[in-house]
């Protein structure tokens, strides 16, 4: 389509973050348009492990710990609602997950980190520390190389593809989803904003940047900056196996369909989302050390994906001071935080302003002069 259309809210980015915000706006009766770049995008929403993850998040930032913990607690209700609206099973399970440690030092350091975190957070989360024998009681398959673990009953996982599909399906009933609409530019236009795509132009009262790594290019148009960088992760998935892994492990989980999906690598490789043999080898070795029976499983696919990482790993939520009505939303944990993005954040955005509680996530924190 050519010509010009108007909308109240332009949400730029059709991944889990943008779709959660758009779904939330539509749920509160707002007219929203969701612009999705297409398969040329890096699509962190389609390359991730699907963890709903609490333990260890927010070390050094209690506001992030609280945000994560509350979102994880809200996941049950969020999933029930989205499942009934969409008819799509999200495969959401929250039975708890382990973080395996392969040395005493690592276990001690992690235990200390988690107890400091517990002391600073206001939303409670329970972590249990256990040795190999303790793990074996819950998970007989654990390898001897695992010295111990921290176990958190708040951790779980969902199927990220089903989540994304459900969000977009429900959004489309009242909102306008624009696939293959790469946004070329977004600019202030009188009281609102103008969005240019190859397939037409839109004017919007408000604009929300939720384009992951793409935010870096779009933010400056609106007097904002998105200091995010790509951090590559490489993932493997096995053939489908009968269910044997009831609990998650930080870097391994079994999907409802039966495939075991695992990956924990972290590389600074720019916009290169390929896989490398050495990292996949190490990943497979670590998985086999954690669960020796995986040596018998065949890996059928591997892929690389790019995390969207801010300087401190925490979310950035902000409104442009120069052009009010333009917002930036960028996080590393779009799956875990989906209930927050679709709920309280979308509610605040629909009112046209962030809540005071969200100011902890302003990018101002990156420009504090070092003393």
């Amino acid at each position: 389509m050519a010509g010009e259309s108007t909308t109240e809210f332009a949400v730029i980015g059709g991944g889990i973050v943008g779709a959660s915000v758009a779904y939330g706006l539509a749920s509160s009766g707002k007219k929203a348009t969701l612009f999705d770049e297409g398969d040329v995008a890096f699509r962190a929403a389609r390359g991730n492990l699907g963890n709903v993850w609490v333990q260890g998040k927010g070390a050094g930032g209690p506001a992030y710990a609280d945000l994560t913990r509350q979102a994880a607690k809200d996941w049950n209700e969020f999933a029930l609602k989205l499942e009934s609206e969409s008819g799509i099973d999200l495969h959401f399970r929250r039975l708890g997950a382990f973080f395996f440690c392969f040395s005493d030092t690592e276990l001690e350091r992690r235990t200390r980190m988690l107890s400091d975190l517990e002391a600073s957070a206001t939303v409670r989360s329970h972590v249990e520390v256990m040795d190999n024998a303790g793990i074996r009681k819950m998970l007989p398959e654990v390898g001897k190389a695992v010295v111990g673990a921290t176990f958190c009953s708040d951790d779980g996982a969902t199927n990220p593809f089903h989540l994304l599909r459900a969000l977009i399906a429900v959004f489309r009933r009242s909102g306008d989803y624009r696939a293959h609409h790469a946004v070329e530019s977004v600019s202030p236009d009188g009281a609102g904003f103008r969005i240019k795509t190859a397939k037409g132009e839109w004017t919007a009262d408000r604009v929300i940047l939720a384009a992951g790594l793409g935010n870096r290019l779009l933010a400056p148009f609106l007097g904002l900056s998105a200091p995010v960088r790509p951090v590559r992760g490489q993932i493997l998935v096995t053939e489908k196996l009968n269910p044997f892994l009831r609990y998650g492990i930080s870097f391994i989980r079994q999907t409802v369909e039966g495939g075991v999906i695992f990956g924990e690598s972290s590389e600074e490789t720019g916009l290169d989302d390929r896989t490398t043999t050495d990292v996949l080898r190490t990943t497979a070795q670590r998985a086999v050390a954690a669960l020796p029976l995986l040596a018998r499983a065949r890996a059928v696919r591997s892929w690389g994906a790019l995390r969207v990482m801010s300087p401190d790993g925490m979310p950035i939520y902000t409104e442009s001071a120069k052009y009010p009505g333009a917002f930036l939303v960028t996080v590393h944990s779009g799956v875990t935080l989906a209930p927050f993005h679709a709920g309280p954040l979308a509610a605040a955005l629909s009112e046209g302003r962030l809540a005071p509680a969200h100011h902890a996530f302003s990018p101002d924190r990156f420009s504090v002069p070092a003393s």
Binding site: E141, E239, N242, F244, L293, A297
Partner: protein, 97 residues
């Protein structure tokens, strides 16, 4: 449906679900099964629906069978060995420590 363009003397036989299937040593296992009239190579883990080869080139994972006790083998990437025991892959495989 599937016929040999160039009929020759079969020099091998293997077992599929209790049936003896004549074939050529070293030929493609999925092709030999299709020629013998087999359509359901497996039942899916989720719904139990029947599946057979779709791509014939190692990509679709629809033609999974158990070969000599080894589950989840892609029939389109396996070759016939006389005397092999092939079974339909029923759902997902059991992983044993």
């Amino acid at each position: 449906m599937f016929q040999l363009l160039d009929p020759g003397e079969f020099d091998a036989a293997f077992d599929f679900e209790g049936r003896t299937i004549s074939a050529f040593e070293g030929e493609n296992l999925a092709a030999a099964l299709l020629r013998a009239g087999v359509r359901a190579f497996r039942q899916t883990p989720r719904s139990g629906a029947a599946r057979g080869p779709y791509c014939m080139m190692g990509v679709c994972f629809e033609c999974l069978v158990t070969v000599d006790g080894e589950p989840n083998r892609q029939a389109c990437l396996e070759t016939v060995r006389s005397g092999m025991i092939v079974e339909a892959q029923a759902g997902s495989a059991e992983i044993i420590q």
